[in-house]
Subunit: 378 residues, 2 copies
């Protein structure tokens, strides 16, 4: 590696270094880049090399990734570069900050977090469960449209159907309704969460039963409503409930070969989607028998929460088979785990999971899904 | 409408106007914007209002859309704006040029043309065939993965299955293999071309037979090959043929309920995808019975082209039922139409179509698909 440090006088009357680096032939293009992209590159030693073309008038360009910020430097071609020693494992959102305004990396495939973002897939020591394996039959993820009377327009859901769904044409399947987080869209459980790969692998290994997974967009607006704080409509949970119960579920049960009863329906979500699961799902235990709250909401005091539906544990357990709660270890899991103990002590089948060393990001939720899905419909 | 023109002295020692505009309440957010986006907006009178946040150091920002270029002006908040009188109908790629470097609009949903782009959906007088109708059953578009030995990695295809595919679980379907253009990806026949909406509508109206449509990515690289000119591998058509014939078609015929013979396979594509149809498809008439070349390639001289396979029209017609060629009227259609006449005179079922007043862009190919699909498998 050779780094040339050159002082030069720029038009903006500032001094800067010129970035230069010898490619030792070991750098490989990142997984989420599109065809023809040359950066970001990953080195086997863990470093990541970013390159970005900013306008020639740019005075300062910084890379923001995970919780880190790095100054970038111009190279001889006027492109801005930085090599970082490492970053957090899993999918990491990053942006380039040009003089205070953030831009996505045009080299990245599009992800949706607070708008269309760029994301680097960084290796993780425990990545095997979300990598595609040649020996595993692959389910399809479908872009599925249905008309919403609540919104007065067509909505798109992503729907996963397991590989065997195509062959067992007379078999019917249970359904998991899976919600995303604030700032995201119906695409992200697949594109950032890799739920389809995880579930394909679990099914192939006999660890999860084949199921359909329906991913709606959390955000539902009635005509005239505009996105408010956090993009939410005034009655965001009520709107979602009307869309889910009156439109999405009936549509799914008409279109796909589902087992259309509560014992074969689950509801789960991350962050805002966990809150929806809490406020829409656990308030309606005639609809779902399995619940997953990932980094979002708690089932609450079993004696009083949700209008006291859990108070009679025996009656509750006839309907609800599982309450799963999870978060990252960096999300202060104590309250979540204490609630799990309360629920268990009350006689409810509650399972808590803490993702080691992860924050409120996708690595927590990939792992949560991996630990949650095997508990469903058994 | 009030436009304030104010001369002011900027840091860059240039004179500029301050953009200001009164919103008359009739502006509506464009169709391809994501949740929470406020621009671009369309006015019923045809105008489009773009707004963009450039770095504060930007000296000049321009909008590029279709073949037009417009200067943008800063408003009092430092945001760059322009209102354009109109643009071309259909999906129009646009970028913001900051001091010579192009950026996509973060307000736009992502499209893929020469990388991740922004696209404005502008109203067209003949748009009915590509709008979703409430009375029309909707097919799904699936993200479908299969392992490629040619590339030594997993590939994604988009696969359309018609709505009735879910109900008629013992019925088998013909398959159209549909290729995209240079600079695009396997997603664009759906996201920019709206082929799923067009085909849903055609099937519901009894104009097209229900079929499966498989959209692969045109670009196939063997290990070690890097994208060259136009992103192409050295033997791009040969690589594609090996992927399509040895991997994609067998995979599709194993995974889906297809009718696995040449009389129930079609191949078509736009631009580069038309060239692939020409070089891979028409060179192998044992594989497909229907061909569509949209703005890309010509079947050629019926006496000599493709090793003389068309020379004996009677023998050829036993295998091949249709050669469809199309382009926009602004693409110099004379050569294409002359070739259609040659083919017809030779006794081959050839159909030519010219899209009125359109260039080498999606409006030509949406219309081409609309005119081509009803001719298949009948």
């Amino acid at each position: 590696m050779i780094v040339l440090l050159t002082l030069l006088f720029t038009g903006g009357a500032t001094f800067a270094q010129t970035f230069s680096m010898e490619d030792d032939g070991k750098w490989e293009i990142g997984a989420n880049t599109h065809r023809g992209a040359r950066f970001p590159k990953l080195h086997p030693d863990g470093r990541v090399w970013f390159q970005f073309e900013a306008p020639p008038t740019a005075q300062s360009v910084k890379l923001h990734i995970a919780t880190e910020e790095y100054d970038m430097q111009k190279d001889a071609d006027g492109l801005w570069n930085v090599v970082i020693p490492k970053t957090k494992p899993g999918g990491q959102i990053y942006t380039f900050n040009i003089d205070g305004v953030h831009f996505r990396d045009p080299a990245s495939l599009p992800f949706y977090t607070g708008g269309i973002t760029s994301e680097l897939e960084y290796p993780a020591p425990d990545d095997e469960y979300y990598l595609r394996r040649k020996d595993v039959p692959r389910g399809d993820v479908r872009e599925h449209y249905f008309y919403s009377e609540v919104e007065q327009k067509f909505r798109r859901a992503f729907v996963y159907t397991p590989a065997e769904y195509e062959k067992n044409v007379n078999k019917r399947y249970p359904v998991l309704y899976l919600q995303h987080g604030a700032g995201e869209s119906e695409s992200e459980w697949v594109h950032a969460g890799l739920m389809n790969i995880i579930l394909d692998n679990l099914i192939a290994d006999g660890k999860a039963v084949p199921m359909i997974v329906v991913m709606n967009n959390d955000f539902v607006y009635r005509p005239g409503e505009v996105p408010g704080r956090m993009d939410l409509a005034p009655d965001w949970a009520g709107n979602y409930k009307d869309m889910l119960f009156n439109e999405s579920i009936p549509d799914i049960e008409k279109y796909y070969r589902t087992i259309p009863d509560a014992q074969h329906r689950a509801m789960a979500g991350l962050s805002l989607g966990g809150m929806l699961t809490n406020q829409v799902g656990l308030e309606n235990t005639d609809m779902f028998a399995y619940y997953g709250l990932f980094s979002g909401g708690l089932a609450g005091d079993p004696k009083t929460a949700h209008g006291g539906v859990m108070a009679d544990a025996e009656a509750f357990n006839k309907k609800v088979k599982l309450i799963f709660q999870s978060c990252g270890s960096l999300e202060r899991p104590e309250g979540m785990l204490a609630n799990i103990e309360e629920l268990k002590a009350h006689g409810i089948n509650a399972v808590g999971y803490v993702s080691p060393d992860t924050p409120h990001r996708w690595m927590t939720w990939r792992r949560s899904f991996y630990h949650f899905a095997p508990l469903l419909f058994k």
